[in-house]
């Protein structure tokens, strides 16, 4: 196996891509489908109620609220949540900009080494919980929640392939 040695300083775009792609990974597809179905049902019920069961102003307001709720639920995982996460990631990055330091990721002598100014992790492949590659980011999970990430832009094709092999060695 070729020795991997990559150093990078995460940019705002790296951080936002990482946040959005992690959100995408963590939400099951079934959740998105269920949300869209529930939202569609809510909108259809509200439309039917508005047409056939509309006796007073309070009922009208209820149907309008239900329509708004339905549209919100349909668009939650496609528009609302990504927008909120993008804003939060941007604020987080700008707040911590001066504390961010470059990370070095190495594969050497059968071990994964991730280091920066304040910390160093040096673990055998067996300790890796999961490796996932998305469009812009490679995630290396130490456990269900904690991970390090490498932007795809700093990796060559050979290095991406090596990290995929790491996934097989770790599992």
């Amino acid at each position: 196996m070729e020795q991997l040695n990559v150093s990078y300083l995460p940019t705002l775009e790296d951080h936002i891509n990482m946040t959005l792609e992690k959100l995408n990974m963590s939400v099951p597809k079934e959740n998105k489908i269920i949300f869209r179905i529930i939202g569609a049902i809510a909108v259809m019920c509200a439309t039917a109620g508005f047409i056939y069961l509309n006796e007073n102003i309070i009922q009208t307001i209820c149907w309008i609220i239900l329509t708004a709720a339905g549209l919100f639920i349909i668009s939650y995982y496609d528009i609302t949540r990504p927008y909120l996460e993008r804003s939060r990631a941007s604020r987080f990055y700008n707040y911590h900009k001066k504390d961010l330091c470059s990370k070095t990721v190495m594969i050497k002598d059968g071990k994964l080494i991730v280091s920066d100014e304040a910390s160093k992790v040096k673990i055998p492949f067996d300790f890796i919980y999961r490796v996932r590659q998305t469009k812009n980011t490679v995630f290396i999970f130490y456990d269900e929640v904690h991970f390090c990430y490498i932007p795809v832009r700093v990796l060559s094709e050979a290095q991406i392939k090596e990290l995929s092999e790491l996934k097989n060695k770790g599992n």
Partner: protein
């Protein structure tokens, strides 16, 4: 990256068990994670539920005339119960999952607390954090929880493997160096 013994104020070796880690993780999530502001969210849902109840009252609690209000009322009540009673249990459950899935958290670490920073290290992991980076410094009867840094991951230090003298010295040091972030909380009851 070594810490000289002269600079270190408190040094000890400790290992964190699954129970301490899950309780510590729960505290972290309730203060800084998905549980942050849960009382406010629960209150908003509560007031919305009261609003729906009031609307239903005006129609003589006839839910066939206002089914939407009844559904929103039920959802709001469920969310109140979720935020207040179910969320802490969920956070503790997640903490247990993290502990079981990690090969590093359950290992023995050596800790060195100096005047401006602390270092935790073992064969696999080295971490240095300044007290100024900490968001929270929480102490209970059974463990310490320190959270901060860019990743904001919690460090849970069990008092089980520390002697009483070291625990007191560490408590005094954290009270002094992390004045704003320090909290002394009661330990949660043990469920057997």
């Amino acid at each position: 990256m070594t810490v000289s013994e002269k600079k270190s104020i408190v040094s000890f070796i400790a290992k964190t068990g699954i129970r301490e880690y899950s309780e510590g993780y729960k505290l972290y999530e309730m203060r800084r994670g998905f549980g942050a502001g849960r009382e406010i969210k629960a209150s908003l849902f509560f007031f919305l539920a009261m609003g729906m109840l009031f609307i239903l009252m005006t129609e003589g609690f006839d839910i066939t005339r206002l089914p939407v209000c009844a559904v929103i009322l039920l959802i709001c009540m469920h969310m109140c119960i979720y935020y207040i009673f179910m969320m802490p249990g969920k956070a503790k459950h997640i903490g247990e999952h993290i502990y079981k899935s990690s090969e590093m958290i359950g290992k023995t670490y050596s800790y060195d607390f100096c005047r401006e920073y602390f270092v935790m290290k073992n064969k696999y992991h080295y971490l240095k954090r300044y007290y100024t980076e900490l968001n929270d410094s929480i102490e209970t009867d059974e463990f310490f929880v320190l959270t901060g840094g860019v990743e904001n991951n919690p460090v849970v230090i069990s008092k089980d493997s520390m002697n009483e003298n070291d625990a007191e010295k560490l408590s005094g040091l954290l009270r002094k160096e992390t004045i704003k972030q320090y909290r002394r909380l009661k330990s949660p009851k043990r469920n057997h």
